[in-house]
Structures are given as structure tokens and as C-alpha cells.
């Protein structure tokens, strides 16, 4: 059936607001049932009427779908948000593959092993193992922050406008926040002179890798740094005590790496930018 006439605007608004008499109301109601155009106008009038007690179905439906579809933030995400990150940044940082279980298990196992060896008779072996592992944990943190080897969605992520360096820094920070306390706690079992000095090579390596990540995938340089460090510690341990690496000229090398890496990183931040624009 084709409707040739439509409800007068004033009458329609009056009906929505409940201001017209029963005879007119019945007439409008009968027409609206058969006229899609006027039903649509009723919807608009109801939404634009702040006093209307008709529910906003659009908003209600969205809220219901949010409750069903939007996953609850993970523990890591909540922790990062509590630490001051915005909800979107916390979501991206927590999306780091490194924060999805396996990483923390490996860190915990290695650190526990080193600490256990230190407590047992093999104190020297424990110190060597701890020295090998502890500075490399932040190195691995950078490597897994943004690498095609560990992030299966990187190809899609790389084509988005979100600043890559910001993502690397966020994820590295998140990985360090959740793993360094474990390492630091294990370091308490070691002789004085090891802890907290291991933080020096850790900081130097991390700064250099973060700067390198602004040009290339950080996984390869991280592997090179790790291999170099393992060989250096092993050779030094074979000749005497690996703790020597944390004194004298070693300290100068780490400081040079740290300062050089930070300067390069700041220059690159200025060049490539880390500010994101969220609508």
C-alpha cells in the first residue's frame, strides 16, 4: 500500500511527547504502524527529545555488544595502565609477544637456576651464569619488542601510522618492568660487587640496541651482542673471575655504550618522531 500523506510535524512531536489527546493519538498511531517514513521520523523525534523516556536503542545495543565482544584487559594491561600508561598504549605494550607467558617462564627458570647454583657449592659457576644471563635479559627484551621473528602480526603493524619507535620503547619498557624485578631479586643472592653492577652492561647494551632499532630489525644486532657477551664472560671466567668485567675498563666501555646509545636514540627520536595522534 502506498501512503500519500504523512503526519504533520507538530502532531508527530506532540504524540512522541505525549501531549495530544487520545483521538489524535490513535490516528497517529494507526498511520505510523503502516508508514516507514513516519516511523523513521518518530525515531528521530524521540532521540532529539531530551525528555523522552524512550531508550536510546543504538547506545544500549552498543553497550551490550561491548560487554560481549570487548575482551577484559589482561593482567599485564591492567598493571601497565595502573603504572600510568593510557589504555590504548597499555593495550599495545601488553600485545608484545614477549609478555605472553613463555618469556617470563624462561626468565624465571634461568634466574632461579643461577640463584640456586650460587647458594649451592658452585658459587663461581652461579656468578658466571648470572653474569651471562642478567645483562642479556633487557637485550632480549628489545629484540622481541619489534621483530618479525617473534611478532607474527608485524607485517600488518608496520603499515600503520603508529610510530614504530614508540612501540619498541613501550614494549621494551613493559618487558623490563615485568622481568627485571625477578633478575634483581636473584642478584641479591650473589656476592657484593656483582649486584647491582650488572645493570651497567645491561643499560649500555639496551641503549645501543634501542638506537639500532630505529634503522633495522633489532633481533640480529641483539644476537650479535648476546654472542659477544657470552664469549667475553666465558673467556674471562676461564682466566680468573668474570666479576672483573664489572670493574675498571669494563665500566668505561659500558658507560660509553650507554651515553653513545642514548645520544643516538634522542637524535633519532627527533628525526623519526614518537608522538602518536589518537582521534
Amino acid at each position: 500500500m502506498t501512503t500519500r500523506w504523512h503526519v504533520d510535524e507538530a502532531l508527530l512531536v506532540g504524540w512522541v511527547e505525549g501531549r495530544i489527546g487520545p483521538v489524535f493519538a490513535a490516528s497517529v498511531e494507526q498511520h505510523v504502524v503502516g508508514c516507514a517514513l513516519c516511523r523513521d521520523r518518530v525515531g528521530r523525534a524521540a532521540v532529539s527529545d531530551p525528555g523522552s523516556d524512550l531508550p536510546d536503542f543504538e547506545r544500549t545495543w552498543s553497550a551490550i555488544r561491548d560487554a560481549v565482544e570487548v575482551p577484559r584487559p589482561s593482567r599485564t594491561e591492567r598493571l601497565l595502565a595502573a603504572g600510568g600508561l593510557s589504555a590504548p598504549d597499555a593495550m599495545l605494550a601488553a600485545g608484545a609477544p614477549a609478555l605472553r607467558g613463555a618469556w617470563l617462564s624462561v626468565v624465571a627458570l634461568v634466574v632461579l637456576f643461577a640463584a640456586a647454583a650460587s647458594l649451592a657449592d658452585a658459587r663461581a659457576a652461579g656468578v658466571t651464569l648470572f653474569l651471562i644471563v642478567a645483562p642479556l635479559i633487557p637485550v632480549a627484551g628489545v629484540a622481541v619488542a619489534y621483530s618479525v621473528e617473534v611478532d607474527p602480526a608485524l607485517e600488518q603493524e608496520a603499515a600503520t601510522p603508529y610510530p614504530k619507535l614508540r612501540l619498541v620503547l613501550l614494549r621494551t619498557a613493559a618487558v623490563l618492568v615485568v622481568s627485571l624485578p625477578l633478575v634483581a631479586a636473584a642478584g641479591l643472592f650473589l656476592p657484593t660487587g656483582v649486584s647491582p653492577r650488572w645493570l651497567l652492561p645491561a643499560a649500555g647494551f639496551t641503549a645501543v640496541l634501542l638506537a639500532a632499532s630505529t634503522w633495522i630489525d633489532p633481533a640480529r644486532p641483539a644476537i650479535a651482542v648476546a654472542l659477544g657477551w657470552v664469549i667475553t664472560v666465558a673467556v674471562t671466567a676461564d682466566r680468573g673471575s668474570p666479576v672483573e668485567l664489572l670493574t675498571g675498563s669494563g665500566v668505561i666501555v659500558y658507560l660509553v655504550l650507554l651515553v653513545g646509545g642514548l645520544v643516538a636514540l634522542v637524535l633519532r627520536i627527533r628525526h623519526v618522531g614518537v608522538r602518536r595522534r589518537l582521534s
Binding site: 560481549v68 565482544e69 599495545l92 600485545g95 600488518q156 618522531g273 595522534r277
Partner: protein, 291 residues
């Protein structure tokens, strides 16, 4: 004249000693362009360059009026870009909704209500609204590809780069996808690489055939098909003179070659016939494409 939204001048890319792309010149305008070519022709390399995830070694790449010379240029392009890569990867444990939402954050959608509405819009566009809460690892290959396509459609991009978008989709899904892509291409430049010539025939205004890192053909689909007119014929047996022959459902053989024999039953060519002819053509006997 419409200003090109994608412009490549003398673009080259090498991997070790192999040239994946060599001296590629292209100028694309809004609409759908299909990219055909055998494996290793350079399709994916070209699309990765268009998606700004891979830098060309030589030549000029200009996308949406930006030269990609600076990080700011690349970011400006990425704000208007959607990309579906060939190899799909998803973070472990993510649902379809969470992944597209995660990608929306990377695409600078900050406000949660607007972002969630956009995520729902694109999931509905690819017909995945009812599977939004499913873990991606439990979805089929075609459904995963549609999840990845949904993230590419976020924000209605001006440039959409799709590497094999119909792989793994059943015929109904492919038709539905074609509808979505045709709708999107009304206001955008869409480049898609595929091995499915029927998708190109159904969707694209223009087709580019890559071979060995070079552009072998660049023109309208109808031009390429027209070039095969009179070169496709049916016979009761494979014709030794044909460049390619195969048995059809009717039991007869479809032959494509340089010219049909005089008494042969000539049939209308398809884009696949024309593509096969082009692929078989050497430099000396390349097929002549009418203007």
C-alpha cells in the same frame, strides 16, 4: 586529467643478487587494479613497497601525493592506507574483535566507543560479526583472511593494498568480498594481487601483468582480453600447434595459441586465455594489444 594516486618511476628492488623489481613505471588512479603474474614475478615485493613496509632501492615512489622520503611522509600515507599482506600472522590468543581493535589503536583510533563502532563496521563488512568473539586460532583459513581484510578496511582508506584477498574463500564469500571491494573502490585506489584471473575479470578496470620484475602488460582488462580474440578454439583433441590445451567439462579441449586453425571452432576468450597467451609470448612474438 585525474592526478595519479600511486606513481612509480623506475622503481627497482634487489634481494641479494636477484632483482625482484627492475625499472617499474606505474601511474594508478582511483578504481581497482589487478596485479597478475607467476610466482616470483615481483607482485608481493611491489605491494610491500606500496604498503610502505619495504623501501625501494631505486626510483621514485609517490603515494597519495607523498614521496615517502621522510618518516613524516610515510606516516601521512599510512594514515590513509589499508594493507592485507600475503602471509598472515596474528598475536596468539586474540579474538577477531580484539585483533581488529588492536590494529585500530595502531591506526590512531583512540576513543573506545568510536573505535569499537568502527571495528564492528568492518567485521560486519566482511561478514564476521557473528564470529567476533572467536579466537582467531579456531577460525578457518578463509575466515582468518577476512579478519585480516577487516583490519585493512578500518577507517575507509584512500589506498587499499591487498595481496591475494580471495585465497581460501569459498565462491559465496568471494562474491560477497567482490561486492565489498567494488563499493570501497568507488572512492579509493585499490591494488590487488591474485592468481585468480576471474577475480580480476569480475572486479578490475585495469590489469598489470608482472614478469621477472618487469611490467609485461599494463592496460584495461578488455584490451588484454581483446588481444586474444581468434586465438582460442575448441577441438576434440589437444592441438599440437596450441600454446596451452586442457580438457573442459564437456569433454572437448580448449586450445589457446598464436592463431586458431582456419576450420577451428573459435570461441570468445576469457582473461585467463589472454593471460596464458601473454605469458607464453616471447619478446619477438608478443601479442599485439589493440588501443
Amino acid at each position: 586529467m585525474i592526478r595519479p594516486t600511486v606513481e612509480l618511476i623506475g622503481v627497482g628492488k634487489r634481494f641479494g643478487g636477484t632483482a625482484a623489481l627492475d625499472g617499474v613505471d606505474l601511474a594508478l588512479t582511483p578504481g581497482i587494479t589487478g596485479l597478475l603474474g607467476p610466482n616470483g614475478a615481483g607482485k608481493t615485493t611491489l605491494l610491500r613497497i606500496l604498503a610502505t613496509v619495504l623501501a625501494a632501492d631505486e626510483g621514485v615512489v609517490r603515494l597519495l601525493d607523498h614521496d615517502l622520503a621522510t618518516p613524516q611522509d610515510r606516516t601521512a600515507v599510512r594514515r590513509r592506507l589499508g594493507y592485507l599482506p600475503q602471509e598472515l600472522g596474528f598475536p596468539r590468543g586474540f579474538s577477531a574483535f580484539r585483533f581488529v581493535d588492536y590494529m585500530a589503536v595502531l591506526k590512531e583510533w583512540g576513543s573506545a566507543p568510536a573505535r569499537h563502532a568502527e571495528v564492528r563496521r568492518v567485521l560486519e563488512q566482511v561478514d564476521l560479526a557473528t564470529l567476533a568473539t572467536k579466537r582467531i586460532s579456531t577460525l578457518s583459513g578463509g575466515q582468518r583472511r577476512r579478519v585480516a581484510l577487516a583490519q585493512a578496511l578500518l577507517g575507509a582508506p584512500d589506498l587499499l593494498v591487498l595481496d591475494e584477498p580471495t585465497t581460501g574463500l569459498d565462491p559465496e564469500q568471494r562474491v560477497a568480498l567482490r561486492r565489498v571491494l567494488a563499493e570501497t573502490a568507488r572512492a579509493a585506489t585499490l591494488v590487488l594481487a591474485t592468481h585468480q584471473t576471474e577475480d580480476v575479470a569480475a572486479l578490475c578496470d585495469r590489469v598489470i601483468v608482472l614478469s621477472g620484475g618487469h611490467v609485461q602488460f599494463d592496460g584495461r582488462v578488455a584490451q588484454l582480453v581483446a588481444a586474444a580474440t581468434g586465438r582460442v578454439w575448441l577441438a576434440d583433441a589437444p592441438d599440437p600447434a596450441a600454446q596451452a590445451s586442457w580438457r573442459t567439462g564437456s569433454g572437448r579441449y580448449r586450445n589457446v595459441g598464436k592463431a586458431a586453425p582456419s576450420a577451428a571452432e573459435v570461441v570468445d576468450p576469457t582473461l585467463e586465455d589472454a593471460y596464458l597467451l601473454l605469458r607464453g609470448a616471447t619478446t619477438s612474438d608478443s601479442i599485439e594489444v589493440p588501443a
